[in-house]
């Protein structure tokens, strides 16, 4: 087995492990319970701010590890860093954020918790994930004509 192939297998297995750990974090945090997410967004109603601690915990930890990890020459299972560097605040960023926020508030699901919730074999996560994939597909089709991000 050559070196790059070996790297690519490690890279893929690493993604599997990260996905698994991420899902456990989502379940522990409460993010897989749509009513809790909607409660978090319900600032003007029966506000349940507990989920703010998910962001605080994740951000503080990753803020601390980020600089240390980036001080390495390269990642362990890849030859280079692939971290976004764009800085411009563009209309697609804003409009996309608004559409996503509305959908998030409507169902209480964002992409990660929706995928993890498929394991409950309930109807709602399936309907949500299927519609989300259709939404992504629609974007790709429309983007071929309109070129939103150009």
């Amino acid at each position: 087995m050559n070196h790059s192939k070996d790297q690519s297998i490690k890279n893929s297995l690493a993604a599997l492990v990260v996905g698994f750990i991420f899902a456990i974090g989502l379940g522990v945090s409460g993010m897989t319970q749509p009513q809790k997410v909607i409660g978090f967004l319900d600032v003007f109603g029966a506000w349940d701010p507990s989920l703010i601690f998910v962001m605080i915990g994740a951000i503080v930890l990753h803020f601390l590890t980020y600089k240390w990890i980036r001080s390495r020459k390269s990642p362990l299972f890849s030859s280079e860093w692939q971290v976004p560097t764009k800085k411009e605040i563009t209309p697609p960023l804003i409009v996309g954020g608004i559409l996503f926020g509305i959908g998030w508030g409507l169902a209480g699901f964002c992409p990660g918790p929706a995928i993890t919730s498929l394991a409950s074999f309930e109807a709602k996560p399936f309907i949500f994930v299927l519609s989300m994939l259709v939404g992504m597909f629609l974007f790709q089709q429309l983007d071929k004509k309109i070129k939103f991000k150009k």
């Binding site: 409460g30 559409l99 929706a114 919730s117 299927l130």
Partner: protein, 140 residues
Amino acid sequence: MQQDWINALLGGLIIGIAVSLMLLWNGRVTGISGIINGVLSPVKNDTAWRVLFVTGLFLGGVVLNLTNPHVFVSTLATGPWTTIIAGLLVGFGTILGSGCTSGHGVCGISRMSPRSLVATFIFISAGVVAVAIFRKLGVF
């Protein structure tokens, strides 16, 4: 109630570990909407890891469902059409806006990306306004 806060913090720390490992191992941001989107329009040698990441997200769910099935209890009484519209908005919006809660909200803010700070402020604000309006309209 207090337990909810502790669980949220604990879960957040676990998520922080996950995204740190993704960066350390693969040099990537854990942006879940982007990872899924890449599976829909596959590029050679850039698909296997995405499929495995999503598989891991699902397998984590399987373990949660076996050990703590209550984390999947939904008390929302909204109908299927509401879920469909929500899914379409989340799918379309996250790709147009180049990220979701994980990519912008966690990874982007952690490295102080101005785009992610703005995006996160916008999608949380939009969610807050949307929930207030949906309540008034009797959606929930």
